[in-house]
């Protein structure tokens, strides 16, 4: 039984569906010509060889779920679907440059992208890759790039806001699913950006132009059609590329990115001891999929990846995610995906019918969850009862490797410094009691050189004795 993915309904040229646990894409007859042209004309080979587009196989033994099918494709598997509002600055920028690179190559093959949504890009093997194989249509010289507005809203506007105003403005993408409206972006950007050629043109003047023509009468008598030469369009794409590449953001000034250097609670011995324990605990269960919650710059995510797992390294701090991503690109890590997440307010299910963009929980559970240096932030800084922390973590993965940070630890002392200590049950015993409601404790180790304890737990199954 095939079930169409709830998010895949806008494009009349095809849709994505799930069948027996695998993802497929139906190509409809109305875009058969464009599809065949892409496949036979060299564009598909060019893009897949350069690692810019997902490969796919054409399958003949699946029944088309809807009428009008031309082909059924089975695309290369994406290990984890992430959303643009979960990406760091660098990830969004690389996704933007990828989109423009693909548009340039498409034009070399007489084709063009018909949409430039950030949701066409996913991260596979640490790098951005285009996943919408049906995004291409024939390029007629003289016609404008129909995806220009979408590119400016999905990519240029958030990148400019993150770079020139505040990195946290990337979260506007959570509210505005079709990219940040240009008038909003123009209004929030510093005035100086009007004097930048790229930002002034593609954002400020673009916003004004949209407002100017917004009230134009529908059905106005036909006037001269706008025509853009191929040379002009190539210059436009190149200009956009330069503008995006010139936007920078340096990850400093946030509280977490220099955590390991700044905090003397840990000396090198304790770090090494913890690393050895984490590695041993993971090797005991050999997870294929891991979520590292509060991953910081990914120190322990790398250990998990070394045991063979695909790891999503979640952190609340944009600077940490950015540093982790830069490290992933530098080292060519293929099994680590750094992403932004506030565990006390995780990515919700949004879009039409709450179904277009899956929530955090809907994209799990995974084999193992790592929660190091985290529980005191939830229980003390955020007042979440330990039992609630346990029940939530139990939904995310079957095995949990978690570090308990007691009150005598300097980090917790900092959290308690400016408030009353109302946490009577926050100690090893209280922690174990709370977690045993949802987990079976399998291993417990003290971390040498610190007051902390590392646990390995397995989520309770219905047949476990209480």
């Amino acid at each position: 039984m095939a079930s169409t993915l709830a998010a895949s309904f806008r494009d009349p040229d095809g849709f994505v569906f799930r069948h027996e646990g695998e993802v497929y894409r139906q190509v409809n007859v109305r875009c058969a010509e464009a599809y065949d042209r892409m496949m036979r004309g060299g564009l598909y080979d060019d893009l897949t060889a350069a690692g810019l587009l997902v490969r796919h196989d054409e399958v003949g033994d699946i029944e088309a779920p809807a009428p009008g099918a031309h082909r059924i494709l089975r695309p290369e598997r994406v290990p984890f679907i992430s959303h643009p509002y979960e990406w760091s600055f660098g990830q969004l920028r690389d996704a933007a440059l990828l989109t423009l690179d693909i548009q340039l190559r498409a034009m070399q093959h007489g084709q063009t992208l018909k949409d430039a949504s950030a949701y066409n890009v996913q991260f596979v093997r640490g790098r951005p890759i285009f996943i919408d194989t049906l995004s291409f249509e024939a390029y007629e010289e003289g016609s404008p790039w129909v995806a220009y507005r979408q590119f400016c809203q999905h990519f240029l506007a958030p990148l400019a806001l993150m770079s020139r105003r505040d990195v946290r403005l990337g979260q506007l993408l959570r509210v505005h699913l079709d990219g940040i409206p240009l008038d909003l972006a123009a209004g929030l950007l510093p005035g100086r950006t009007k004097w930048n050629l790229g930002l002034g043109l593609h954002l400020h003047m673009h916003a004004r132009s949209q407002q100017r023509y917004a009230d134009a009468a529908v059905g106005a008598p036909a006037k001269r059609r706008v025509s853009i030469s191929k040379k002009g369009l190539l210059a436009l794409i190149d200009g956009l590329s330069r503008t995006v590449a010139a936007l920078t953001w340096e990850p400093t000034g946030t509280e977490w990115h220099d955590y390991y250097e700044a905090n003397n609670n840990y000396d090198a011995q304790a770090h090494d001891a913890k690393a050895t324990l984490v590695r041993a605990m993971l090797e005991a269960v050999h997870p294929r999929t891991v979520w590292d919650l509060g991953a910081n710059t990914g120190r322990y995510s790398r250990i998990a990846a070394e045991t063979g797992a695909h790891v999503v390294a979640w952190d609340i701090d944009p600077a940490c995610v950015e540093l982790n991503y830069r490290e992933v690109r530098k080292r060519g890590d293929e099994r680590i995906l750094p992403l932004l997440l506030d565990l006390t307010n995780p990515s919700p299910a949004i879009g039409w019918e709450h179904s277009e963009r899956a929530s955090l929980v809907e994209r799990g559970p995974v084999d193992a969850v790592i929660a190091l240096g985290l529980v005191h932030h939830l229980a003390i800084a955020n007042n979440v009862p330990l039992e609630r922390v346990a029940s939530f973590l139990a939904r995310l993965g079957s095995t949990l490797v978690i570090e308990f940070v007691p009150k005598r630890d300097s980090q917790v002392q900092k959290l308690l410094a400016s408030r009353t200590d109302i946490f009577d049950h926050y100690d090893e015993a209280g922690f174990e009691t709370a977690f045993q409601r949802h987990f079976v404790l399998e291993d417990r180790q003290s971390i040498e050189g610190s007051a902390r304890t590392l646990y390995r737990m397995r989520g309770r199954r219905p047949d476990d004795a209480r």
Binding site: P144, Y148, R149, W195, K223, A235, D238, G239
Partner: protein, 77 residues
């Protein structure tokens, strides 16, 4: 200076160009976006051409200064 000229160009082009809504677009590009795109393409294509001129000019200039350096009498014994 170049920026000011560019903006004058945009203003002129924006006033001059009018167009119809394109049909059968999968997404709505919007009239305002099309106007800016046309203006942007003109400006940026001009800039690209200018950049090429600058490179050529520099090359010519270097060749000229190189030639005059060769022709000058040497002060070394």
């Amino acid at each position: 200076m170049i920026l000011k000229l560019a903006y004058l160009a945009v203003l002129t082009v924006t006033i001059l160009i009018t167009l119809t809504q394109p049909a059968h677009a999968y997404i709505d590009p919007g009239t305002g976006s099309l106007v800016i795109q046309a203006a942007g393409a003109l400006i940026l294509a001009t800039l690209v051409t200018m950049r090429v001129w600058m490179v050529t000019l520099k090359r010519v200039f270097r060749r000229l200064t190189g030639k005059s350096a060769d022709a000058a009498p040497s002060n070394r014994p």
